[in-house]
């Protein structure tokens, strides 16, 4: 039995899966749009409580990681496996930096007593409650995707090490990269919505 390989098919499958991810977040973005429309002033007030410095730093980290990922795939296609592996590790390291950053950001908020169902949160006006609930939900779901993405990339790194992802058969890493770009892309929407425009 020959092993079935279908580069185009694998890419189609990945893009379809990415559609579903966009729609999964889409439900939350829809809620955000409705509630922003309903509570513009409260969203504005609550948004000021979030740290722009943390948010900006994380945006830079994530965009840079996406660049590294793109370079990693490019390097692999040109046959530079070791360089590609290093770039993947760099990407995963930046995912770690992002999560640590996020951890401090969340800890600070939770330290102030603001987290879902907390007594302090329940005293806020309804619009601000919705804002913080959405904030935890959307950045939380995004954080889970960062963890999954990093795990997928580490697995891709492992496959390169054992020679199952090679300059000829790089579709796994390429799909992993696509997933990582999606994770980045979602953040690029979350950042202005929570930290900037409100």
């Amino acid at each position: 039995m020959h092993e079935h390989r279908d580069y185009e098919g694998a890419k189609i499958g990945m893009w379809l899966f990415l559609f579903t991810e966009v729609l999964l977040f889409g439900g939350l973005f829809l809620l955000y749009a409705v509630y922003l429309h309903r509570y513009p002033a409260e969203f504005h007030a609550a948004g000021k409580d979030l740290s722009r410095i943390f948010g900006t730093a994380n945006t830079i980290v994530l965009i840079t990681s996406s660049l590294c990922m793109a370079l990693a795939i490019s390097a692999l296609q040109r046959g530079k496996v070791v360089l590609s592996q290093r770039l993947v590790l760099l990407t995963v390291t930046m995912a770690g930096v992002f999560l640590v950053n996020k951890f401090f950001e969340w800890s600070a908020k939770i330290g102030h007593g603001i987290y879902p169902d907390s007594p302090a949160l329940l005293k806020l006006p309804p619009g601000e409650m919705v804002f913080f609930n959405l904030y935890y939900l959307m950045t939380g779901l995004h954080g889970i995707h960062v963890i999954i993405g990093a795990a997928v990339l580490m697995y891709g790194w492992h496959l390169m090490r054992v020679g199952r992802v090679t300059p000829e058969h790089f579709v796994f890493l390429e799909n992993g990269g696509l997933y990582w770009h999606l994770v980045d892309l979602v953040w690029i929407y979350l950042f202005p919505l929570f930290y900037l425009v409100v």
Binding site: H4, G9, G13, T20, G27, P116, M129
Partner: protein
């Protein structure tokens, strides 16, 4: 046939050089074995859902308490809904018959992602187990109805958490199946299998696949939101926390209305396969039937708010959604008229699959036409949340998908098992089920028009007659279905062996041995004619 079996063991037998056994099934990447796993699970879950429905009907035979208390009744109709919708109806035809026959019909060896395929079956099993676990653990079985409407689902102390996680996992399984089929249809068609030579069953699975991929994630996030609302207190649908319960309904129906077409489109595909074979005539309006599947998938995604005419929406929104709902009737009617035209002047051979297909057309038409009564905002206000709705969706989903599924079981049975069931008993069971079905559900239309609300445990004496007739019908229907399953089961073991093409079908699955061998085709087929071109095709049994 014996020569076939010798050189190429069929997919029930172990691959040469392997021992077989249970692991060769539950870890199999063969699309046919996966389809069979789905089929057996779905039949088992159907029998569970059937029993629950039967008990609900029994409770309602007379006013007041009959065999169970109110809480048990609430749990039963919730579980009946969850089991039937998420475990039976949505996966039924695509995951079972789609998996078995889609690759064969397009001349492929397997689906695009065989390992993902078995993974999605594992997800299905996990979801099914969790759904059953939610019954017996925690503080009682969920009692919210299968729609999990907030605010009740957010505050009830019953085991909703586990049930919504089960639904999330089942949704993921459904997405992966749809994704797999779309990719397979784009990439693995045999030479000569152009899009206009694709069997209509494949077209319907293609349209279904897109709905599965595009709608299901929204359900995923919705049930996830219930989960975080219950566990973490993220009150996004809770008015006391600034949320809005109506938004829940929007998000829920954005998925769950298109899901109705995940249920019905594959059944329509099956009917489009059965009718031309038994009319010995190319299907009338092939392109229109293929196109109407896509049109239903598209238009059906724009009509979700017709479930919410009385939930509080602007009059403009109500009118827009009412209009869009009518639009879906157009492609559905195109299909029905094309099926009837296919039968017109055909040289009809009446066999059990055709009876099921005819029952489908009759029941689906009643369900579809009464759907217009519900889609029109004015009449909907009168019958909203009454038994009229219950009757309507059982006519569409059970009469449509259910009889489509039974039709598929009878049509492809000889191909899957290489044997034939008793046709006489099959015809009788179809008739009994059909009669029982109408006695069961037709009185509900009248009850609904009289004002009997759905989901209620008890009712006024004036509805007693209708409920009594309906419960009688449930016995007849159950008898017919049990006879049908028994007949099929007996056919698997003792049926008369058949050859490759007992019905005289022209699609590719009838050119391979029955049951098909492990890799489907001895050599990759080259397709030279359409799927309904019966020139020179003769039934061989």
């Amino acid at each position: 046939m014996s020569a076939d079996a010798h050189d190429h063991p069929n997919f029930f037998q172990p691959l040469p050089g392997t021992k077989g056994g249970i692991a060769s099934w539950i870890f199999s990447t063969d699309h046919k074995r996966i389809g069979m796993l789905y089929l057996y699970c779905i039949v088992a879950m159907f029998l569970v859902g059937l029993t629950l429905g039967f008990l609900i009907r029994l409770e309602l035979i007379a006013p007041g308490r009959t065999i169970m208390g109110q809480q048990t009744y609430n749990a039963l109709f919730t579980l009946h809904g969850v089991v039937m919708i998420f475990l039976v109806v949505i996966p039924s035809i695509p995951a079972a018959f789609g998996n078995i026959f889609l690759p064969i019909q397009i001349g492929a060896e397997d689906v695009s992602f065989p390992r993902l395929n078995i993974f999605s079956w594992w997800l299905y099993v996990t979801g099914a187990v969790l759904a059953v676990v939610s019954l017996v653990t925690g503080k009682g079985a969920p009692d919210t109805g299968w729609t999990f409407y907030v605010p009740f689902s957010a505050v009830t102390t019953t085991n909703v958490d586990v049930a919504v996680v089960a639904v999330f996992i089942l949704g993921f399984s459904s997405i992966l199946t749809g994704l797999n089929f779309i990719t397979t249809l784009h990439r693995l068609r045999a030479p000569g299998m152009t899009w206009t030579r694709l069997p209509l069953f494949c077209w319907s699975l293609y349209a279904t696949g897109w709905i599965q991929v595009l709608a299901t994630p929204v359900l995923g996030i919705t049930v996830l939101l219930i989960f975080v609302e219950r566990v973490l207190g993220v009150g996004l649908f809770d008015p006391s926390r600034g949320g809005d319960p109506i938004l829940y309904q929007h998000l829920f129906w954005i998925y769950s209305h298109p899901a109705v077409y995940i249920m019905i489109l594959p059944a329509m595909g099956v009917i489009s396969e059965i009718l031309p074979v038994f009319a010995r005539k190319p299907i009338f309006g092939y392109k229109m039937i293929a196109f109407s599947s896509l049109a239903i998938a598209f238009a059906g995604s724009l009509v979700w708010a017709h479930h919410m005419f009385v939930s509080g929406m602007s009059d403009t929104a109500v009118m827009v959604f009412s209009f869009l709902t009518f639009v879906v009737a157009i492609p559905s009617a195109i299909k029905v008229f094309n099926w009837v035209s296919t039968l017109y002047k055909g040289s009809i051979r009446v066999e059990p699959p055709l009876w099921y297909a005819l029952a489908f057309i009759f029941l689906f038409s009643i369900g579809g036409l009464t759907g217009l009564v519900l889609g029109a905002a004015g009449t909907d206000v009168h019958v909203h949340d009454t038994y009229f709705v219950v009757a309507h969706f059982h006519y569409v989903i059970f009469g449509g998908l259910g009889f489509g599924l039974f039709g598929a079981m009878h049509y492809w049975f000889p191909k899957v098992y290489g044997r034939m069931y008793n046709k006489r008993i099959a015809n009788w069971s179809c008739l009994i089920a059909f009669v029982g079905f109408n006695i069961l559900y037709f009185p509900m239309f009248i009850l609904g028009l009289q004002g009997m609300p759905r989901r209620y445990y008890d009712y006024l004496p004036k509805y007693a007659e209708g409920h009594f007739i309906s419960t009688m019908g449930s016995w007849v229907l159950a008898a017919g279905l049990l006879l049908m399953f028994w007949n099929l089961w007996r056919g698997i073991r003792h049926g008369k062996p058949v050859g490759r093409n007992p019905w005289g079908g022209a699609t590719l699955e009838w050119t391979v041995p029955s049951p098909p061998p492990h890799h489907n085709f001895e050599a990759e087929p080259v397709v030279t004619h359409g799927p309904y071109d019966y020139t020179g095709v003769k039934p061989d049994a």
